[in-house]
């Protein structure tokens, strides 16, 4: 990976800003650490730390009712926590932009991450969420920008799965 390519979280942040995202809900995650930090220090973004990912699905719905755009940051394990709340998104056709950092798919040390890591994509699709993969540092931000347009312009639920190979293995 080139040194410049390592700033993909900064470029995703720029895509969120260009896309007028005003609220960012997140459950802390090492893969999203840089992006979370950028959101927390931006005065124009309401950063909302969640106790569980499903809270963020409802948060985003409420934001849209009020005319604001929200994004939701989580790890693949959090996808499982969202399932019933995604019926809110689907029934009301609320836009939803989920950025999911993947675990359990590449150089994983912890077997407990594998079940959701290997099923997150299928689970999201079953719940009516369109899924894009971002496995490459050069195109990750473009993928997020495209997903953002899809979510808010077409009032759709869209997830971008950010590959573990891109994030890099957690050091134990």
């Amino acid at each position: 990976m080139s040194e410049a390519a390592g700033d993909w979280p900064d470029r995703i942040f720029a895509a969120l800003k260009r896309g007028q995202v005003a609220t960012v809900g997140y459950v802390p995650d090492a893969g999203h650490a840089r992006l979370i930090s950028l959101c927390r220090t931006d005065d124009a973004i309401q950063d909302v730390i969640l106790t569980t990912e499903e809270e963020g699905v409802a948060l985003a719905a409420g934001a849209w009712l009020g005319g604001a755009r929200a994004a939701l940051l989580m790890q693949s394990s959090g996808v499982g926590n969202c399932i019933n709340m995604l019926t809110l998104t689907r029934n009301c056709r609320f836009p939803l932009l989920m950025l999911v950092t993947m675990r359990g798919e590449w150089e994983e040390f912890n077997p407990w991450q594998v079940p959701m890591g290997t099923t997150a994509e299928a689970v999201l699709k079953l719940a009516g969420v369109a899924v894009h993969r971002a496995d490459d540092a050069e195109t990750a931000a473009d993928t997020v920008a495209a997903a953002l347009d899809h979510a808010f312009n077409a009032e759709s639920a869209v997830a971008v799965l950010i590959g573990q190979r891109l994030i890099g293995a957690k050091r134990w």
């Binding site: 909302v48 809270e55 409802a58 948060l59 409420g62 009712l65 009020g66 604001a68």
Partner: protein, 188 residues
């Protein structure tokens, strides 16, 4: 004991320009019974999500009062939301739980609040300082004033009788509910 229908009707009587999120089950019927309004968003599912929808809406519309009216069972399913709301503490958000101590939709099984759980204490413990327990007419009248006048995050647990009322069923088409709500706010 307080009657849930009269309680909700009283709290909504002078709602002003408040925006309302109603939690699934009886609170949705109570809010509908108080008078349908395009600024009401009724949940028919998504149990545990009402308070967080209220937070998202309150952050998006800081100039408007946002009132979440939900039940004890719905609030219990999303208790973490109280901790999340307490971190942000938007001054325009109020969460009012209509607590009948039972799961009304499923056969009136006693809920946790009938067996020790105190939601106002939990909310206060999460950091929502303006958390109230309401059990009688006097406290309800005070709550109505508080909702109208105080500009801080408010939580109230209103104990009501576990009585059945005829269901008043509002619109349940989620897309239609969303669109009319946004139109009422002047959003395309």
């Amino acid at each position: 004991m307080l009657d849930r229908r009269k309680t909700v009707k009283r709290l909504l009587a002078d709602r002003g320009d408040a925006l309302i999120i109603a939690g699934l089950g009886s609170p949705t019927y109570d809010v509908a019974a108080a008078g349908d309004d395009e600024r009401n968003f009724y949940l028919w599912g998504a149990m545990g999500g009402a308070a967080m929808m209220g937070l998202g809406l309150a952050l998006a519309r800081p100039e408007r009062r946002v009132l979440v009216v939900t039940g004890d069972g719905e609030m219990l399913m999303g208790l973490g939301a109280l901790a999340t709301i307490a971190v942000k503490r938007p001054p325009n958000l109020a969460v009012v739980v209509i607590d009948n101590g039972a799961f009304g939709e499923t056969g009136m099984q006693p809920s946790h609040t009938a067996q020790g759980a105190n939601l106002a204490a939990i909310a206060r413990g999460c950091g929502i300082a303006a958390s109230f327990e309401v059990e009688d007419e006097a406290a309800l009248g005070q709550l109505a004033v508080t909702l109208r006048e105080r500009r801080e995050t408010i939580f109230a647990n209103v104990r009501v009788a576990a009585t059945d009322h005829p269901r008043v069923l509002p619109l349940k088409d989620g897309v239609a509910l969303k669109q009319r709500f946004r139109r009422a706010l002047g959003i395309a």
